[in-house]
């Protein structure tokens, strides 16, 4: 099947200059299949229902728009104090010099292209599999494009309790870099791994992560998207969560002209848990800010719990979008699904659009969702001011309080505190101007 006629030209234009990377036969097959999917779907446009609130044009156009490289001044890099295995990519290319040795107890870790070159590799079962499954019922063409053309990435197999987190550090150096990274994470039964992602990665970044959490495994994910004001990103997390397994993901975003983060999670085993959370801070004063969280959680097992907690603080014309769906399949009894998306608008210029959706085919479930848009609580603000706290400082305090429910979704205390401290500093720097 081919894409609708009006989509064919831009879709082919995007493919110009891209060639399918070499690899083992199974990898070539996976990439060709993905290319076929991509061509059949075609690139999204504003007319697509799924892109109603976010204009994909700059994400899909043939060449990446230029993005100035942001130079942080006085900040300590995130997770600096955390003992972790560093894996560094510069403009989407793995840097062996800057990275630690890819070796750690409880973990097998290698570069994507190395894994995809091997005739026999566990990655065969995962590469493109979750992504392909995640194309139904909603098309995610840019993830298929990613599977077809990703030239770099990391492949992780957790076989036990990983001794420390793996941090993917994405450096941006080139103003016109257009990076496609694809990561695979397989968590074996009883294993436990934390993956951190930090940085802008490139002028334009297309990232796809496929995660398979086997029965009783645990996957933790904490991400801080780079502070480069002009960067763009479209990211996909495709996960399958097995019996009594845990999937937990948190993302914080401050700055970025265009971000679309998708989570597609299939809860496949009984008594499994999936939590996704996000805290975004956008200030249009530094340039356009548009941030879109799109989440699709499918419950296909009994007695499972899912949570979506997304908070956005927007000012000076910043735009926030949330599309969140909970699909409870027939037979997925005793599902406990929770979804909250909230925005704090600090002025009248900023906007937030939310589309929460529930689709339920089982009768014994508890699902709740809520979405709010509000300004700062004037009563609380006055109370703080009456105690001597100046308006801007009081506003920051209330802003952090607003974000707390999302930040609290980070299970590890050190990581949680680090993220909270970073957001506090971001607000402080902003206040000082």
């Amino acid at each position: 099947m081919a894409a609708p006629a009006q989509k064919q030209d831009p879709t082919e234009a995007r493919l110009e200059g891209l060639t399918l990377p070499d690899g083992a036969a199974w990898a070539r097959e996976a990439r060709e299949a993905a290319l076929g999917r991509f061509r059949a779907m075609g690139l999204p446009t504003r007319r697509d229902e799924y892109w109603r609130y976010t204009d994909p044009a700059t994400l899909t156009q043939a060449a990446a728009p230029r993005a100035a490289v942001f130079k942080p001044t006085d900040e300590v890099p995130l997770f600096q104090e955390v003992d972790r295995l560093k894996v560094v990519f510069i403009d989407g290319v793995f840097s062996p010099e800057k990275s630690d040795d890819l070796a750690m107890a409880g973990l097998e870790i290698e570069r994507l292209q190395d894994a995809l070159a091997k005739d026999i590799h566990w990655a065969k079962d995962l590469y493109g599999t979750r992504e392909a499954a995640g194309q139904d019922p909603v098309a995610r063409p840019q993830a298929a494009l990613n599977t077809a053309f990703a030239t770099d990435g990391i492949v992780i197999r957790a076989t036990g309790k990983a001794e420390k987190p793996v941090e993917l550090i994405y450096l941006h150096r080139d103003e016109i870099s257009d990076a496609i990274l694809h990561h695979l994470v397989r968590v074996e039964p009883g294993a436990d791994v934390t993956v951190l992602e930090v940085g802008p990665a490139a002028a334009r970044f297309n990232k796809c992560m496929e995660i398979d959490v086997a029965d009783t495994g645990a996957f933790h994910h904490v991400r801080a998207q780079g502070r480069d004001h002009e960067r763009r990103a479209v990211t996909h997390m495709f996960a399958r969560v097995g019996k009594e397994a845990l999937y937990k993901s948190f993302t914080t975003t401050a700055n970025g002209v265009m971000t679309r983060n998708e989570h597609v999670i299939e809860i496949a085993g009984d008594r499994a848990t999936a939590h996704v959370a996000g805290a975004a801070l956008g200030d249009g004063h530094y340039g356009k800010f548009h941030h879109d969280d799109t989440v699709f959680i499918t419950h296909d097992a009994v007695d499972c719990e899912s949570r979506q907690v997304f908070k956005k603080v927007l000012r000076n014309g910043a735009e926030g979008v949330f599309q969140g769906k909970i699909l409870v399949k027939e037979g997925a009894q005793k599902t406990d699904g929770y979804q909250i998306s909230q925005s704090l608008l600090l002025d009248d210029d900023s906007s937030f659009q939310a589309k929460p959706e529930l689709e339920i085919y089982a009768d014994d479930v508890i699902c709740s969702h809520g979405s709010t848009t509000g300004a700062i609580d004037e009563t609380a603000l006055f109370y703080l001011r009456s105690r001597g706290v100046p308006t801007d400082e009081a506003t920051d305090l209330l802003t952090l309080a607003f974000l707390a429910e999302a930040i609290d979704e980070i299970a590890d205390e050190a990581l949680r505190e680090d993220v909270a401290a970073r957001l506090r500093e971001w607000l402080e720097r902003r206040r000082r101007g």
Partner: protein
């Protein structure tokens, strides 16, 4: 300390005059009480003095140690030494009580050009003050006033007052909703702060608080004015006969 002259206030949004010329002077070292029927404007007076939005001053003045309060932002008034114990303390989910108090304390110090208090000194101080008010460590950690009982909220107000050591304390119906024990704790907290350099304005509906916090002067407020002032005996008179007699007398 606090000098209010002919203060007239209307609502910003409505054409409704609430204070119709309030005259009141609280000297350093003294405790003044304001009593009066519901709706007479007592809370409005306390809000206008602390700088809440929504009111328009149509006449008169309010000075704190000679400085024009009405020109200052609420945070400036606080740094200048004004404190209002709210009739309805505000809940702030997500902001820890300790963080709140430390931020407030340091903001005031900064505004006055003083050094910030160290984390260690702050902890020592708050533990000592909290103990006197029977506020436990758990309550200090919780978000500001969230899930606090009525009495806990009022004690928390007094804790803030004790920590911030303001020059001029206004207490708006701090006694309402308190049982006998809590009333004693709150009164002891206030009495401990009584000092030659500090003034108090205690707004109350009932005489019973004044049994614990002995006022120097008692004012009766009605319909936006102070209609009568006198010694502590005035409060007893209200207790015995209600407001009706006084109001007819001054009408």
């Amino acid at each position: 300390m606090l000098d209010i002259k002919g203060l007239a206030v209307k609502l910003e949004e409505e054409d409704k005059q609430i204070l119709k010329g309030v005259d009141l002077s609280v000297e350093a070292g003294s405790v003044h009480a304001i009593m009066g029927p519901n709706g007479s404007g007592k809370s409005t007076l306390s809000y206008v003095l602390s700088g809440r939005d929504g009111y328009e001053v149509t006449g008169g003045s309010a000075l704190l140690e000679g400085e024009n309060l009405l020109d200052m932002d609420p945070e400036e008034r606080a740094a200048a030494g004004l404190f209002l114990a709210f009739q309805y303390p505000v809940e702030i989910p997500g902001v820890g009580n300790m963080t709140f108090l430390r931020t407030a304390m340091n903001a005031q110090r900064k505004a006055r050009g003083e050094e910030e208090i160290s984390a260690g000194d702050f902890l020592k101080l708050i533990r000592a003050k909290a103990k006197e008010l029977k506020i436990d460590a758990e309550m200090l950690k919780r978000p500001v006033n969230v899930g606090f009982s009525g009495g806990e909220k009022k004690r928390n107000e007094i804790l803030q007052m004790a920590m911030l050591e303001p020059k001029m304390c206004i207490l708006d119906e701090t006694d309402s909703g308190l049982d006998v024990d809590a009333m004693k704790l709150v009164s002891e907290g206030v009495n401990a702060l009584r000092d030659a350099g500090r003034g108090f304005l205690v707004i109350t509906h009932y005489q019973r608080l004044l049994d614990h916090i002995a006022p120097d002067v008692v004012h009766i407020m009605a319909d936006g004015r102070i209609v009568k002032s006198g010694g502590p005996e005035l409060a007893l008179e209200v207790e015995k006969n209600g407001y009706a007699d006084i109001l007819t007398e001054v009408a």
